[in-house]
Every structure is written in C-alpha cells, then in structure tokens.
Amino acid sequence: KLAMKAVNPFTSQISPKLVCATFLILSSVKCLLIPTYRSTDFDVHRNWLAITRHLPLSEWYFDDVGGTTVHTLDYPPLFAFFEWGLSNNFITDLLLEKGWLDERCLELLPDNDNEPSDRCVRFQRATVILSDVLLFLGAYLAPVSLGGVYSASINNGCGRRSHPWVTVLLIVTNPGLILLDHVHFQYNGMLLGVLLISISFIIWGTQLISAKVTVNRTTDRSNSSDEAIELRSSGLFELLGAGAFAILMAMKHLYLMLAPLYLFYLLRHHCFVARRREDYFNYSFSFGRFIVLGIVTLICLLGAFVPFIMQNQPRVHMEQILARLFPFGRGLVHDYWAANVWALYLFTSRAASFLLRKAPIQSGLRQKIESYAIIPFPEPDPSTVAFCLLIGLIPCIISAWK
C-alpha cells in the first residue's frame, strides 16, 4: 500500500531569529539607499497614490490630470487597490496629521511640477522596504517546500541537501532586485514574494499524493482479487497555488507569461485522476476538480475587476482597462531595448538598411532590393508576437504536461 507522505511545512533549519536579523540588516542597507537616484517610476507610483486617494473609483483608469501627466495607471486593479491601501490607511493619515508627511506628496500634480519632498521620498521608500516582508516570506517558504523533495531524494540515495539558508539569502540579497526596488523604485520584491509563495504551494502539492486502495474480493474460489489503486493529488495545495498565482496576475499582468505553465501542469496533475488496473494506469478526467479549480482561479483573478464592472458603462471601462494594461500603441520595443529577440530583429533590420544605404550601387537596383527583401524589416503586429510567444512556450508546456 502506498502511504500518505505528509510533509510538515515547518520543519526546517532556518530559525525565525535568523530571518528577522537578516531582514533588519537588509532593511538598514535599504534605508541607507534612500537618498540615492530615483527614476520616473517613483513619480508614477506617487501619482497612483494621488489618484487612489483623491479620485473616485470610476475615474482611476481614465484620469491623466488634465493631460499633463504620462504617469497614468497601467497596472491591473489589484495593484491599484494596493496603492489605495497605502494612501488611505490610518498610518498615512496619522503621518499627515502630525506633519511628518506633506500633503503635496499625495496631490495630483502635473509632470513639470511634481518634485517630491524629502519626507515623501522617505515615505514611499519605506513602503517598498516594508513590502519586502512578502519577499522574505516567499523566500522562506520556497526552500522549506523544496526540503521535502530533497529529503525524499536523499532517502533514495541520490541528491545532496544544501542548507536552506543559502537559498533564502540568495533570493533576498539579489543585487539586481535591490537596485531595481530600492534605487530605481519598483515593487518587484513583493510580487516576487507572492510568486514564490505560489510556487511553494505547488511544490508542497507534489508531495501530498494520496492513494486510495480499494480491494474487491470476489467470492469465487479463484482467489483473484481485483485491486484498484486510485491516485489523486491532495487538491488543497494546488488550489492555493493557483489562487496565489491568480492574485499575482491581478497585481502585475507581466506574469501572464507563466500562465500556460500553470495551466497545463495543474490540468494534468490536478484534474486527472489515475487509476491503476493490473499493469497500466488509466487516466480519467475529473470534471468536478476542474470546475473547482476554474472557479477558484477566476475568483482570485477577476475579483479585483468586479468593482470596476459595477460602475456605469462596464464595457467601456473594461476596454479602457485593457487598453491601459496592454498598450500596444507604444511599439514593439521600449526606449531602451531589452535583451530579447525583437531587439536582434530590429538591429538586423537597421544594420541591413545601413549597409544598403552605404553600398555603392545604383538607386534603381537599390529600390528593387529594398522592395524584394523588405528592408527595413516590417514591424510585427501584436498577434504575430503573441503567436511567436506561444510557439516558444511549447517545450515548456510539454514538460509541464509530463
């Protein structure tokens, strides 16, 4: 009989004192980074604090301070509610009352006149530093959940267990993350923490597989017993993981890229139940589990959109939100090219047009080559890009399925 392997999530070698001390040290270092350079992302988030503080819900995604600002709200609704929480809680009100935070920090300001005061900078940087608690939580849970996997492999005689503390430290002291969050100013640490929490749940789920053994004994004398072993995943942790991931997507739609991975993994792992008959496994689709998973995911993902749907003209509102989330009008690449395929594509295109311009041939021939080889290369439209993306995801999906 297969026994149920329960893994206690709190057996680990990382003591809370260690995590607290690391949090304090890193927070001190981040405090020392307060007066460093901050980018326009700082002004963007300050503007969002202002929008969520002063404007009613219906205008959050429409407002742009009379056209004087480009820092419009372009994150999904749950992040907007996060900013609303930051600008509308009792601590903020206390700070404003005591004069430790100036009112101007939370005002709707045009782009040419939005210089933040020292206290405003400190306030916002403090929110990022405190939101890193989620990062620490995720970084703590991730190696703890992997611990069960490692100990299993050690029992099998393979694998080496590294100290879980190393994993935590490598995650939280990542210099890129610190630079991006505490200098350039973003909230990536918090989001990464949520992602790690969701991954932890999924990994825990892999270790909790229950087996139900049903033995049908026939009454005839052939002594053959009809054993059926049914394997199913625990369910709860998968739902938690899916829910956490949906919440993450509702905070930053960038993580939509990971959605196919989650989809196919959970489909196979959670929704299919395996029954073993003699020598082979028989997979059957459990419709009930699929429905439950779908409901949980949709609630977590679309729950944040509900207040916006309940406004007047929900369709216009949703279209505006989608337009803000996916600004295809901005072009294929950012001002500063990221290190991706489209940058190579554009670079090749520009190199080709440069070479063609400098080549010593007549203009008639040049025009022919230009039209034949389509130099410069055409810029792909969003659906083409999405298609290429999905093709690129195929190996990942296959391995997730398996």
């Binding site: 001390a21 001190s28 405090c31 503390w165």
Partner: protein, 580 residues
Amino acid sequence: EICKNDPTTQTADDKTTMQRKGLRILKELVALHTSRYGFEDARGKLFMRLTVLVLDVTIYMSAVWVLAMRLTAGDDTIIANGNIFGLSIGQHRRIWLLLTALTQPAIILIDHGHFQYNTTSLGLALWSFHFMTLDVNPFLRESDNPAARNTSFLGPVIGSIFFSLALNFKQMELYHAPAVFAYLLGRCFRKKRGRSSNENSANNVDQQPSHIIAAVSRFISLGVTVILTFAILWVPFAITIQPPQDLLSFDIKVIYQILRRLFPFKRGLFEGKVANLWCTLSIRPISIRQRIPEDVLPLTALGLTLVFLLPPCFILFGVGRGRGITSTREEHEQNHSEKDIRFLLWGNTSSALAFFLASFQVHEKGILIALAPLSLLALDAPNFVSWFSIVATWTLWPLLNIDRLCEAYFCCMMIFWCTKSIIGLPSSTSKQTRWEVDIFTQWRLFGFIPYLSYFTMVILHVVDFFFSPPPNLPDLIPVLFSVWGCVMLIFSFMVTIWAMFMQTATNGWSSTSTNPLKAQRRANFSLVVGVLCMVYNVAFADSFLIPSISVGLMRLDQWSEKPATEKPAKHSPFCSMHRN
C-alpha cells in the same frame, strides 16, 4: 599651504583643511588634486569619497585581516562541531573577529559619513603593531633557516617605520605613542633566544655588559629609524629654492609653523561638547576652568594624562622585556608574539582612552583611536568590545546629528548588532578559559551594566527626539550626552587596566607568581584603589602623587612575595572565576 592660494579652489573649507592636515606623505597626490579642480560638486565629492574608500580597503582592511589571521592562528587545530552554517571553530572565530572589526559603526560613520581619513592612519598603526610584536625575523622562513627562530629586532624596526608614517599622517596617533614607546623600550631589554639557559647562568656576570650594549644598540637603531622617517617626510617642506641664485636653503621657520598648526594650544581646553573629563568638570558647580588659571590648564591636562598613562605603560614595558622569559627553558624558547600583540592592543586602547579623557583639546572623533585596537580583541572580551563599540558610536551622536547622519547612525548600529546576532558568539578555544579578560563575564555583579547603559542611552535618544531643552539651558542635551559618555568611558578605561592585569595572570606574567587567583586578586585590588585615587585626584586636582602611589601598591605584593606554594584556591568575594 599648497592649495591655499589656488584661485580655482571653489570648494568648501573642509577640503583645504583636510589637505593641510593630512596627506603629507602623498605629496604628488595633492598636486594631482589641484590639477583636477573645476569639477562639479557631485563628481568631486564622489572622487574624494572614493579615495577614502580605497585607502580604507587597502590599508585598514588589510591590517585588520592580517591581525585577525594572527590572533586566530592555531584555532583550526580544534576539531569541534561547527554551527549551523557548517563552519569550523577557527572559521567561526575568524569571521566573528573580522566582522566585528570591520562593521564598527563609529569608524564607518566618521570616515565615510563625516568624511575623514582616520582609517589610513589607524591602518598604518595596526600594521605597525603587527610588525612590532613579531619576535622573529619576518623574512626568514622556519623551514629554510634555523636562525629563523632566534629573537630578532627587525620586527620592531619595521614597526617603528610604520608607526612614524601613521604619526605623520595624523598627529592623533600620538594617543598611541606612549604605549608604543613603553613596549619598544621594553623590547630593547629583551634577552635573546637561541642560547641555552646553562650558558646564561654560568656566564651571568659576563652577560650584563653585552646585555646593556645590546639594549643601547637596539634603542639607537630605533631612534635612527624614526628620525630618518621623520626627516624624509618633513624636510621637503623646509627646503626652498631661492630664485636668483637657485640655491637650496633650509628654512626652520616652516617647521615651527607646522608644529604650531598641529598643536593649536590657543583653541582652548576642549572644543564642543566631548565626553571628556574636562568637559564634564566644566559644568557648574565644579567649573574647573574658572578654578585653574588658563596658562596652567595645559600643564594640568598633561599631568593628569601622564598619571593615567602610568599603569598601561608600566605593564607594556614589562611585556616588552618578556617577563617570565628567564624562569624556565620552555618559556625562554617560547615565541612571545601571541601574547605581545594582545598586550599591545589592550595597552594602546588604554593609552588612547587616557588621552581622550584627560588631554588638552580633545575632539569627539578621538574615540576612534581607542576603538580601533580594541575591536581586534573581540574574541578575548566579546561582551566588553561589543558594548564599547556601541558606547563609542553613541557618544558621537551630537556630531552625527549636526551632520544629518541620524538615519545612517541607526542603520549602521542595526547592521552591527544584527550581523553579530546572525553569526553567533563563537566559543573560546581550549587554550584560554572562557573570556578571562571580559569583565562582563568574570564579574557577575557587572552583568547588568551593559543593559542599564543601553537603557539610559535609549532614554537620552528619546529625550533628544521629543523634548526641546529649556531656554536657560540651551545645550542641555549635548551636555547630558557628554557627561554620561564620560562616565561610561571612565569605566571603560578602568576595565582596560583591569584587563591588562588579568592578561598578565593568564599569560604567566612573573616568574615567581604562577597562581592566577592571586593575580586576579591583585587586579581587582588595583581597580578599587585606582578608583579611589582617581576620585581623590580629580576632586582636588592638586596632587599627582596619590595615583602613582596606587601604581606602587599594585606592585607591592609582587615585592613581598614568597615562593609559590600550593594553596587551595579560595573563593574571593570580588570575583567568580569559572574554570572547567
């Protein structure tokens, strides 16, 4: 002088003052600086801060590394279970020591926040301590050369070169000078190793003159080294080239001017509110500045400082001579480097604290000079060193407040505290019992002192933050900081003296007394007598004889000792030594 008349000098006073005060060695670098003026402020600031950082890493951190390796040499032979990070005991001790010495909040805040070059001179001083306490020739390897195990005076010579460099970089190293002088003087009289003790006893009469000759020749070699180093550094200032005849002329007035700049007696007894005895005694109703005439004040300060310096210098002289070297053959053959460096570090801390407490024109930042050697003793007296690091940073608060370094102050303290809490206190090695020189471990009675002092420090911070002083006492809060800081520093000074005496007990100080309990009783007795004498001396300020009598008392039981007999160890009411 170099930059003063440069018309392109647009930046603030601190730059020119700094370049006048330091950088005598790096004269070409100063010229490079002048050629680069005209930068915008941000880049100029970046450049200067980078210079501090580079010098800090190359000179100070390397010195700390070398000394840490030396102080923990031989710890790797101890096999024990590591802590949760899988470290061996030796690694754990080394990491603890390095982290304590390198994350000192006071040093980081002053050098990289307030902007100074202290770490350069402190690093040079630490290098000099390393070389000075070497018993053997550092350039000979034991495997190649049998003479490598003989006592060699090359170490102190190199050390004195480094110390002269440190002294010429910043004259604040004079705080260490008496201790170093006492130790080197003792080293001149150390008997050479490499001869059998039979020869020693047989030719005892003949040994005396050659022993004296050796001592004098060593002293002369040191003197020549120091004078040469000073000459190389100072003479370029005094030589001028007369234009018409193109002759080199030596101008002694420049040297006098340098000395006047280095020691500004006209500035007064103390500058600002510093955790000094004089500042504490200047408040009403004591008002020592009114009671003592102004021209006598420097002499009073000098006298009191000399009195405070007597115990550490006395012990260091004995250490330099290598007390215990003539008792047994094993001790004679021993390499004294390990105990010498510890004594020298304690002695330097003690001497720096003596100067800080009683000297003329002391600046708040002078506490760093006491902190730097002490931070390397974090393995011998962990609780005391941690406590003192925090106290030293705390006394700097009024200065940091003005410099707008409040946030950095709290952040650096937090980093210091949490780093040590993560690494965890390493256990002591088998060679020494558990932290004999750490007063907070040895005297259970004093265990409450760190917590009480932390509580009071927090209270004073809260008072500073929330309350504004009454209008008739505008400087109340900095004065409170300096008075309470002075009290804690006086306590620290006496602890350093106590620790030096305790160190003598653990290292087989004298030939006749090998009973450590006796030595500890002597240490405690000297502490109590020292307290009483200090109080008397400070209260009446007219007699310098009493403290010197106290020093004599400390040695009294040494003179009247009988040969050691086996006595059962009595439990003294003052101490509770725990020996496994």
